[in-house]
Subunit: 199 residues, 4 copies
Amino acid sequence: MSQEIREPKQERSIEKKNKIVKAGYELFSEVGYYNTNTAQIAKRAGVSTGIVYGYFKDKRDILLDVLAIYVERAFSPVLEMIDALKMPIDLHELMIGVLDAAISIHEQNAKIHEALHAMSHSDPDVNARFIELEDDITLKIADRLKSIGVQVDCLNERIHFAMDIVQSFSHEFIFDHHTYIDYVRMREIVQNTLISLFI
Amino acid sequence: MSQEIREPKQERSIEKKNKIVKAGYELFSEVGYYNTNTAQIAKRAGVSTGIVYGYFKDKRDILLDVLAIYVERAFSPVLEMIDALKMPIDLHELMIGVLDAAISIHEQNAKIHEALHAMSHSDPDVNARFIELEDDITLKIADRLKSIGVQVDCLNERIHFAMDIVQSFSHEFIFDHHTYIDYVRMREIVQNTLISLFI
Amino acid sequence: MSQEIREPKQERSIEKKNKIVKAGYELFSEVGYYNTNTAQIAKRAGVSTGIVYGYFKDKRDILLDVLAIYVERAFSPVLEMIDALKMPIDLHELMIGVLDAAISIHEQNAKIHEALHAMSHSDPDVNARFIELEDDITLKIADRLKSIGVQVDCLNERIHFAMDIVQSFSHEFIFDHHTYIDYVRMREIVQNTLISLFI
Amino acid sequence: MSQEIREPKQERSIEKKNKIVKAGYELFSEVGYYNTNTAQIAKRAGVSTGIVYGYFKDKRDILLDVLAIYVERAFSPVLEMIDALKMPIDLHELMIGVLDAAISIHEQNAKIHEALHAMSHSDPDVNARFIELEDDITLKIADRLKSIGVQVDCLNERIHFAMDIVQSFSHEFIFDHHTYIDYVRMREIVQNTLISLFI
DNA sequence: GATGAATGAGTATTCATTCAT
DNA sequence: TATGAATGAATACTCATTCAT
């Protein structure tokens, strides 16, 4: 009864599946998950509505793959930044760079970020995938930090907390425009807090 | 042609409008905005579906009012806590209390929190209202803190940042279950960070 | 989540529900269950597609109600015929009348008859309803026959068998046109067989 | 533009076509015509979906070929039974055997039986094929019966009627479970009726 | 001939919103 | 004001059929 889902092995197919995920990623980012329909995704991907269901079980299944792109885009700049560090590391500069990167990423990904988080509450699969991907990133960052000589206790906990801080500050910075807040000074406080976590 | 929206003056009407908002709040919290329909809201509120549109322009308009409840519930415990403080204040104990409160609040409000945030990106009204309400809370907290002798520069910025931290840690604590994270130790780090912001 | 199904109490509503069932009955009869869509049913009934789901859980649920009409139409002529019998009863004439009636009924109901039977195999509810309605008719006929003095053993079994015979002969008579069959003589054989069941 | 339908001459092709028909027969029997899709048929037959349309014009065209299998399976046991008769023939035993066979056949073929009959009303081709195949069977049975000395008038008519009776009783026996019917006694009545048709 | 990926029209169902009463 | 029946546009998903390889 239920259609067979193709796991594409051939180049052309993989490309097509990627196009669909990319289209989903873009649309979810632009207008949100609930304001996007499958016909729009297909059209943007340049495929028929039918084939979408050849590669994905349902609309939610697209979100699951979009999630991977999101996490990749959201965190890989941080990894690259850490990779590019030269000894002796300057945590101050690192954090400036991280915040810059996070802000520009969040600018493009805010809607999908919320959609994904909202989804994760009602959808165990989304949640599980989210956690899995976050785990991956956290552990990678931990490896990098260790290899460049960072020595603090509770490293994973600190990294995770730092990621949360970066995330929420980016959000704050982009979307909230409280008149009584001086965002330049707030950013300084955030930076110092981040640094203090790793010394 | 478009129906007149009543701003209820009479007691009975105000009560009815409140019932609708309460029902909306509950349902959005339980299953999310997109998984709630107006018939359910009306039923839970004990009114007809038609009258909902007597008090609200559309479904989104209900969310706008629900927002007020959410912010009230999410932040008033903090205010109460600060009110109850006795000199000399013990920041450590305060932060423990704040986190406890925040976690239990977030437990019940996570879904609506995400729905609201998601909405705020595509909806300027939601966003404006959100900011307005957050402003209110932040300034109130600032007043309290000043009146109990907290003297740091950039108080508003620190408060706002602290609220973000509390928010994201609560979320983390409730929903993310990373096996390699020791949440007890993470909480300690968060607490210390919070304290360090105000000394 | 699932919509509330209205069980109409008021005249207007009952009328509307009946219109939908009637439209379903007609369309299922004309082109079959699978070749009818809900939009067509709504249109023929003169209502919106939405309200169909106010009265029925789904398309199949309409079929369940259509079933009642079908059984009523298919069997009530027989009951009337038996009612109209005068003593002493002439079984021969009765059977002629029954076959005449059955044939003309079957002419109009053949498609829905098949749709219903086909459905009954994969759908326990349809099956159950069918049996229930057939029970009702069989027992009514038994009562009538007893009251006019028919005295044979296994009355229910004979009635049921007779109904089967009438049914299948009607079908044969209308749809099968085997050149080597003389349907006038076949009908005589059927009539005699029916009579022999009740003497 | 419309594709040429191949009438396979080569062994391999005939085999492939047969596989498709067999798969169609099985699936239609198991879940019905409308609950079977062409992909399932192809998969079960071990061929590609595309090639199905090399041998058949459309899905309905498969049903037409399935029909032949159905009639073959449904009636050949009766022919074999008659073949196996030894003089002097015992009609009583024959009818017991026929009913036993019919019931077990119907058990496996009920769904396809209904699908076929339902189809035959809207589809002249199905109807024509059905009649043609029934003709064939009826005349074969007539030959057998004559050759073993059965001498009644209207033989074809009686055979046809008998086939109807057997068919509908099988159905009744398998699917209807009326509590007030004693199916053992009903079967006796049916058997006696069948016998009376041929003496 | 054969494959199976691709097409896109078709369909049941939902739900925000309106409106007759 | 209040009701809840009615509307109909919107949408996820299916599947017979085609076609590039």
